[in-house]
Amino acid sequence: MATLLAKRARSLVAPLTERVGAVAVRRIGLALIALASLAFPLVHRNEGNIDAAANALAFATLALGLNVVVGFAGLLDLGYAAFFAIGAYAYGIFASYQVQPEWSAFWEPLQWLGLVERLSTGTAPDHVHFTVSFWLMLPVSGLIAAFFGVLFGAPTLRLKGDYLAIVTLGFGEIVPIVARNTPSLTNGAAGLNGVATPNLFGYGFGVESTPYYYLGLALIVFLIFVSARLKTSRIGRAWMAIREDEIAAEAMGIDRIRLKLLAFGVGAAFAGMTGAFYVAKLQTATPEMFQFPVSVMLLVMIVFGGIGSISGVVLGALILQLLQSWFLQDLTQWVHAFGNLTDIAFFQQVDLVQSIELIFGVILVLMMLYRREGLIPAHRSVTALSQAEQTAVPSRGGFTGALAQRSPVDLTQPLLEIRGLSKSFGGIRAVAGLDLTVMPGRIVAVIGPNGSGKTTFFNLVTGLTKPDAGRVRFAGRDVTGLASHVIVERGIARTFQNLRLFANMTVTDNALVGTHVRTATGALGAVVRPPGVRREEAEARVRAARVLGLFGNRLLPRAAHLARTLSYANRRRLEIARALVSEPTLLLLDEPTAGMNPTETLELTDQIRSLREAGITILLIEHKLGVVNEIADHVVVLDHGEKIAEGRPEEVHRNEEVLRAYLGRKIPAAAHP
């Protein structure tokens, strides 16, 4: 039903779009929305409805914050209302008479700054009355909530999705209980008294709805801006990579811990600011305003609107909140009238207001079953490819473009030195006492039967698994046991045997994740975008496009397509491209030609060779011995975790140990093809 409406809407707008251009239509649409929002209180003078709209804006900002945590970073937070509470009580405590410590000299400079007042009651000693300005507390509440966001998020870092949700649910329950049980700070269940309203250059907001409406509007515009900037930045891409595949994200150089904490912090900050706004408007706060049903409602709002889509979650929140506080009574009357018209008893009697929670539960279930992407999906559909773009002839001769060179490596020293590397899983020795030296500018193939420890070996070198014993030295520095993202930064990149792409990100974004480790923009830079950041982003895009272009027209025409829509071979190519974008000195390829037909295999083999010409050292796990023969300078054979042979391909093929490992019985050397 929703898609039908959307198609109808688009078909109405399409002729306009053709005439004026899609971007212009969007701009005009936004301008109209902005005009309508600004004019609304002046045209529609009902204070109650303006108030309802202001409340709805508050919930929309909350939904935006939850969207950062759940939609961008993929962390299901079921206790988000806790941060709303923290921001609200933070402002409430510093702008009411609730907390009144005794006066001492310590408070005098704060009094001078206007943050506190001195209360004298005649008989009792003087007390402090907090009078911190709303405008100061708005960001401060955000920061306090962000602090708790990091605090509550820290224990969840290693948990998988559903456990993470439960822990956040636990914190979400604890906060209102603590608020209720510490009446000295919060006045407990009775609620705060007399929280001060904002004061703008002498104009006190008081109980009028209109100034709060505009304040809410300003807040949401600001937070939409911040969300949008973050989404299309290095940070946003890193979050989405974590959401799609944490392991791959880490292997591409993303510091999971820092970024997850950042997501929690930013999301909590949105809620904290909203809390200050909400409480300033209401002038009171009770613990019951921040319990589990609020967190669930926010989840329903973002699921309904479209997880990950900024306009979607805002729309979802506004619709559901305005439905409850403004339209529901009218809607009930319409339904009753409809029931009278059609004489259906159910419609005549149903009270929508009573059943609104039930309706929301049904909405949640139906959306999850039938339209998980929500009202406004996070991904826009892409245009189809032309015939020329779709056909790709396998080419020989390696890469068509030039590759960027990393800093020149000392060709006389070994690039990778491995001594005594061992790893056991339970009773199984996956890798046992492995020694290996890799000289720069070589292609070294690692072969062996299934289960011989090849992928584990890769995992050990790239930091995905910590070794039990042994040392790994890369370019003269010890990298044993370092975190994956550090190792990527040092110059080792990899692809995965079972493909770990970021399925719901575009081809371009997948490649751009590769640049994460070579760029430095943080959250603040992502939002403010000074020229340095813009330059870095532009350069990163150029680099990514160049690497994608190395594969001819296989990847570039599909730059805006989601990775999961690619063919299997193209996905393999994309993984390699993604790894190349991080400008590695050493590239670990895990069965790169798996699933490719012979022609494609030859094409990729040539491409790998040209990587070596460009100065990249390659470590290659391969089952196709033809490929190994073609390009490997050096072959290492593993069996049951141990190295049983190494040398030039021809030597290894004749080695009896190797033959026995693969074929299981002694055969004369003449069997070599």
Binding site: L159, G161, I166, E173, I177, V300, L358, G361, L364
Partner: protein, 309 residues
């Protein structure tokens, strides 16, 4: 009452509470063990089960507080009540799985769990709208027998709770270990794909798991009503969170773990209330939940859970 009498009484209280939580945790943990799904709706199936049992008892003419039954009529009434309630709850569980969860079985991530939150809300609100927000009095057919131990008291209904919980746990244990379907369930819990390839009808196994789990929830609902002599739309909420913590504490997916976890949570509730204050019980229980999930996610008895890719 001397200190030891108080302690004993609180231990009795705690163990009874624990048996209730354990029964509720059993069904929940079993489903998790098979399909790794945190089913929020389980605790409202428990609540619905208690209402089904209430209406059944009313239909059978068992009303009021002062008319206990003895001997054969009592066993007959209880037998019918348990059988019908468990059947109805089981069917409800299968329906939920079929309609709301099976379509999402292969969707990665937390989509299915979010859907169970929605289903939970639906059950909760249907009962609230249909039956009202006030608590409903339960009939009390149990004779008021009690046995004093020092100055502490042991009541019949406490014995009933332990008895039924142990019997059901034993039944479940035997089912899983001895029957063909039980073995199929164990196989599916270990590796769904491999079990499917060995000819196990995974859809059927999951349906049976939901049936059993929900039947246990329904039984817990009936016991709740008989024990506390009331039910209301909200009973799933708090009992649910405690039972959930019990399941996690014992080791989610582990059946004896659910019993152990339930017992521990029950004792924490009663002893914590005695020596600290009942106002902090919720905070203590949630803290335990957080600590267990962070530091020992496999729980006390659990095996290392297979990680979802």
């Amino acid at each position: 009452m001397s200190f030891w009498d108080v302690l004993l009484q609180q231990v009795i209280n705690g163990v009874s509470l624990g048996a209730m939580y354990a029964l509720l945790a059993l069904g929940f943990t079993m489903v998790y063990g098979i399909i790794e799904l945190i089913n929020f709706a389980h605790f409202n199936v428990f609540m619905v089960g208690s209402f089904i049992a209430l209406w059944l008892l009313q239909a059978m003419g068992i009303v009021g507080q002062g008319h206990p039954l003895y001997g054969l009529p009592l066993i007959g009434v209880l037998g019918v009540a348990f059988a019908v309630t468990m059947l109805a709850s089981g069917v409800l569980g299968v329906a939920i799985e079929r309609l709301a969860l099976r379509p999402l079985r292969n969707v990665p991530g937390t989509a299915a769990m979010i859907t169970t939150i929605g289903v939970s809300y639906i059950l909760f609100n249907v009962i609230l709208l249909g039956a009202g927000a006030d608590s409903k009095n339960y009939a009390n057919p149990l004779p008021p027998l009690r046995w004093p131990i020092g100055e502490a008291t042991l009541r019949l209904r406490e014995v009933l709770v332990w008895g039924v919980t142990l019997a059901l746990m034993l039944g479940l244990h035997l089912f899983v270990r001895r029957t063909k379907m039980g073995k199929a369930m164990q196989a599916t819990a270990q590796d769904q794909e491999a079990a499917r390839m060995m000819g196990v009808d995974v859809d059927r196994v999951v349906a049976v798991a939901f049936f059993l789990g929900s039947a246990l929830a329904g039984a817990a609902g009936l016991i709740f009503g008989l024990y506390y002599n009331y039910t209301s739309f909200i009973i799933g909420y708090t009992a649910g969170l405690r039972a959930f913590t019990a399941a996690v504490l014992g080791g989610i997916g582990n059946i004896p773990g659910a019993m152990l976890g339930g017992l521990i949570i029950g004792l924490i509730e009663s002893l914590g209330g005695q020596f600290l204050a009942v106002r902090w019980t919720d905070v203590i229980i949630f803290s335990i939940l957080v600590l267990v999930l962070v530091f020992r996610p496999t729980g006390l008895l659990g095996r290392a859970a297979p990680t979802k890719s």
